[in-house]
């Protein structure tokens, strides 16, 4: 009996390794190999490229990696919660721009004094993200507009709108316009890890909090179950008394709220002001999408994926010194996403075929006995 149970456990573990972890590793390796081939084919120094990318980062770079990973992870969670419901929130990019802009204006105004300002700003940023996400969500449920198409449009509107608002209501600083700086009393201290490096941003902790909340919500609550059910099949959800349209609204709102937080670690940790392009980091929304896919929409996977992407981006800063253009890591990032989905598709096809074969094998003796009887 226990032998059989052991066998079951072993099979589960083997399956997890074969069908989840192995494809991810294969995809990452394949992407790195493909990038190396590009570097080699264009005649750039391949040895220097590999050495630099695989070197151990300095203390300073480690801090940068952690900081960047926190923002990427937040963006990935915003995308992942939608993925789990079969929604494609490509609009994280726009939602976090709007959240960053609204949050920065609010924080800079200093309406709420002291550390309380941080909390209030986070709420404002989340609300702004929700409002922006709701446009796509409402269009989706009332008019049947694809959330992908409307989100693409809204991303550009967000960027232009934020630029306009900062130019009209912000302050001039040098050649650009920015929002007013956060009062010093509302600037949080960071976590000091190394004596010879800057601190980890205080609000990087948001990524951990959201990650735990994400796992809890999806795995341990009724709502999470409803969400996953709706993702599997909308008709099944409807039959079980779940209103899919209501779910779309709620999930997009949660996603928008998380998206609103994406840039907050950097805002409170280093820039303290907002202005495109100098005092802002664009593109995190798309990086987050990629990481959510890489991490298979799980907290651990996203944590790992965001560290990997931040690692690649930070290491690439030193590529210039060995004569390789740093943009090459963006090729790696793009290809890794493609590879990971392709690898999982192949793994799924193999799994289906094997299961069919296994079922056929198990049925075979039964049919023979049936025939002899």
């Amino acid at each position: 009996m226990s032998g059989q149970q052991n066998g079951q456990v072993t099979r589960r573990v083997t399956q997890a390794i074969t069908y989840s972890i192995l494809p991810t590793i294969v995809a990452i390796v394949a992407a790195l190999v493909a990038t190396s081939v590009v570097v080699w084919a264009t005649g750039a120094p391949i040895g220097g490229f590999v050495d630099t990318m695989l070197s151990v980062p300095s203390n300073r770079d480690t801090i940068i990696i952690v900081n960047q990973a926190s923002m990427i992870a937040l963006s990935a969670f915003a995308a992942a919660i939608c993925f789990r419901m079969g929604l494609f929130n490509i609009g994280v990019e726009g939602q976090y721009i709007v959240g960053a802009c609204a949050g920065a204006f609010f924080a800079g105004s200093g309406i709420v004094p002291g550390p309380l300002n941080i909390l209030a700003t986070l709420i404002v940023a989340m609300l702004a993200g929700i409002v922006w996400a709701m446009i796509a969500a409402v269009l989706n449920v009332t008019r049947g507009v694809s959330e992908v198409i409307s989100a693409i449009m809204l991303n550009y509107v967000a960027l232009t709108l934020a630029g306009y608002l900062v130019k009209t209501y912000g302050e001039r600083s040098g050649y650009t316009f920015t929002t007013p700086k956060i009062p010093p009393s509302s600037q949080p201290l960071g976590f000091g890890l190394f004596a010879d490096a800057p601190d980890v941003w205080a609000l990087a902790i948001l990524a951990v909090i959201v990650g735990i909340g994400y796992s809890f919500l999806l795995g341990w609550t009724r709502f999470g179950f409803d969400l996953r059910t709706t993702g599997e099949s909308r008709t099944a959800a409807l039959a079980n008394g779940i209103d899919p349209r209501r779910m779309v609204l709620i999930v997009m709102a949660i996603s928008g709220a998380i998206a609103g937080l994406v840039w907050m670690p950097s805002f409170f940790g280093s820039t303290h002001t907002f202005g495109i392009p100098e005092y802002f980091q664009r593109g995190l929304g798309f990086t987050g999408l990629a990481v959510a896919l890489l991490g298979r929409n799980t907290s651990l996977g996203i944590g790992f994926g965001s560290l990997l992407f931040a690692f690649l981006a930070t290491q690439s800063n030193r590529l210039q010194s060995v004569g390789v253009a740093r943009d090459v890591v963006e090729i790696t990032q793009g290809i890794v996403v493609l590879m990971v989905v392709i690898a999982f598709e192949i793994a799924r096809r193999i799994k289906v075929r094997r299961e069919q074969e296994r079922v056929a094998r198990e049925l075979e003796p039964a049919t023979t006995t049936g025939a002899s009887a």
Binding site: F286, A290, D327
Partner: protein, 413 residues
């Protein structure tokens, strides 16, 4: 031509209506131009700028159309377009103008091939693949530019100039006459003359090619057996398969053409809209192309019309000191929306009509309240208009039925 003669009455009536609407639009534009005294609205210069801004959007839109007609959503247009800008610059620098055009086509098609392998062979979600191609395309162009252009004469890590571009032609008699007439600022006549002057003065051969591709696309997709089979893959691939159509092959061809067209759009940006290459030159035009395809209801002529409109908005945002002009355009937009609202209301869609009318009135109030509108808003126009069309007329839009849906051979029920 027998096709035209045998068109049923309903179709003929529809054609008359389209002509009538186009005429009404021109008259409205002219009226607004005279009323606001904003003559820059229809000068040959502005219209030429609009045409140049429209062509990359048009080519991207046509690219999107080819892919979607075969059932593949191509969000990767932006990345393929970027690859095109690099291909055009690289090949034109070393081998001449038309080699550059060819290079752009090939680089775009390469991006298309990647999308095709991922979506068709491996059944990857089309949006995911497109997003990945856009990320990788941006990186690839940055990398290739720095690797190959840094040491060139006239080049740098992020730019290249000094390569040959396709020739420009001016039609002597017509161009001069039209320029003269448009200078008179007569009602209606001058506006039409300005448009004529815009397309007969210093017209790039690539522009002609772009417009010719609209006709070619329409003819191939709707008038040939090849096109019928290709479109059947986008409407119902299982049915096409049962009729012996090799769905994979048609999808591959369509996505390759899609990428090549997007690449050509990139060439246009790097050779006509500007005579030099810079990284990230597309600046979201691939996405506007996608918008123009939707706005144009997955039809070549629709794509042409919406690209011209979006191109006009894009062109105006390039003009200096354009606040008053944008302000005048606000009045134009408000009037067009009022007309649209009236059509909707009389057509029985009362609620939609009233909502659109309210938006139009809001725009009118905005127009009356201020003297100048920041140029940022023209930049937003294509996106806002597309959102508006999706929200108001999504029932009237008809995308290919199987667009974006996964398909695997041998699963026809």
């Amino acid at each position: 031509m027998t096709i035209l003669a045998s068109a049923p009455p309903a179709v003929r009536q529809y054609r008359h209506l389209t002509l009538l609407l186009a005429l009404a639009a021109v008259v409205t534009v002219s009226l607004v131009r005279v009323f606001t005294d904003e003559s820059r609205m229809t000068t040959p210069g502005t219209l030429r700028l609009a045409l140049i801004a429209a062509c990359p959007i048009l080519l991207a839109g046509l690219g999107g159309l080819w892919a979607e007609r075969a059932g593949v959503v191509n969000i990767g247009l932006e990345g393929q377009m970027l690859l095109g800008t690099w291909g055009a610059a690289f090949f034109a620098y070393h081998f001449g103008a038309w080699a550059g055009v060819l290079g752009a086509l090939l680089m775009g098609a390469l991006g298309g091939l990647l999308h095709a392998v991922a979506t068709i062979t491996f059944g990857v979600d089309h949006i995911i693949s497109g997003v990945a191609i856009n990320i990788a395309g941006l990186g690839a162009v940055g990398y290739l530019a720095q690797t190959f252009f840094t040491d060139l004469d006239g080049g740098g890590p992020r730019n290249l100039s000094g390569y040959a571009v396709p020739a420009q032609i001016t039609i002597p008699g017509i161009s001069d006459a039209a320029l003269w007439v448009s200078d008179q600022r007569w009602f209606l006549v001058s506006d039409i003359a300005a448009a004529v002057a815009g397309v007969t003065t210093r017209l790039s051969l690539l522009t002609i090619l772009a417009v010719a591709l609209v006709a070619l696309t329409a003819w191939v997709l709707w008038r040939t057996p090849f096109g019928l089979r290709l479109r059947s893959c986008g409407e119902n691939p299982q049915a096409a398969e049962t009729l012996g159509v090799n769905v994979y092959r048609y999808k591959y061809i369509a996505v390759l053409i899609s990428g090549a067209f997007a690449g050509l759009g990139g060439a246009y940006l790097a050779m006509v809209a500007s005579s030099s290459f810079t990284t990230g030159q597309t600046n979201g035009r691939g996405y506007i192309g996608l918008a123009s395809m939707i706005f144009g209801n997955w039809n070549p002529t629709g794509v042409l019309a919406s690209s011209l409109m979006f191109g006009y908005a894009d062109g105006v945002s390039l003009l200096s000191d354009n606040g008053p002009l944008v302000h005048a355009l606000l009045l134009l937009l408000s009037l067009i929306l009022l007309g649209y609202a009236a059509v909707k209301y009389l057509g029985g869609e009362r609620v939609t009509g009233i909502v659109v009318a309210l938006i139009a009135v809001a725009l009118l109030v905005w127009y009356l309240a201020v003297d100048s509108v920041p140029a940022d808003f023209t930049g937003m126009t294509p996106y806002l208009l597309t959102l508006f069309v999706l929200a108001v007329a999504s029932q009237r839009l008809r995308m290919p039925a199987a667009s974006g849906k996964p398909y695997r051979r041998g699963q026809a029920g």
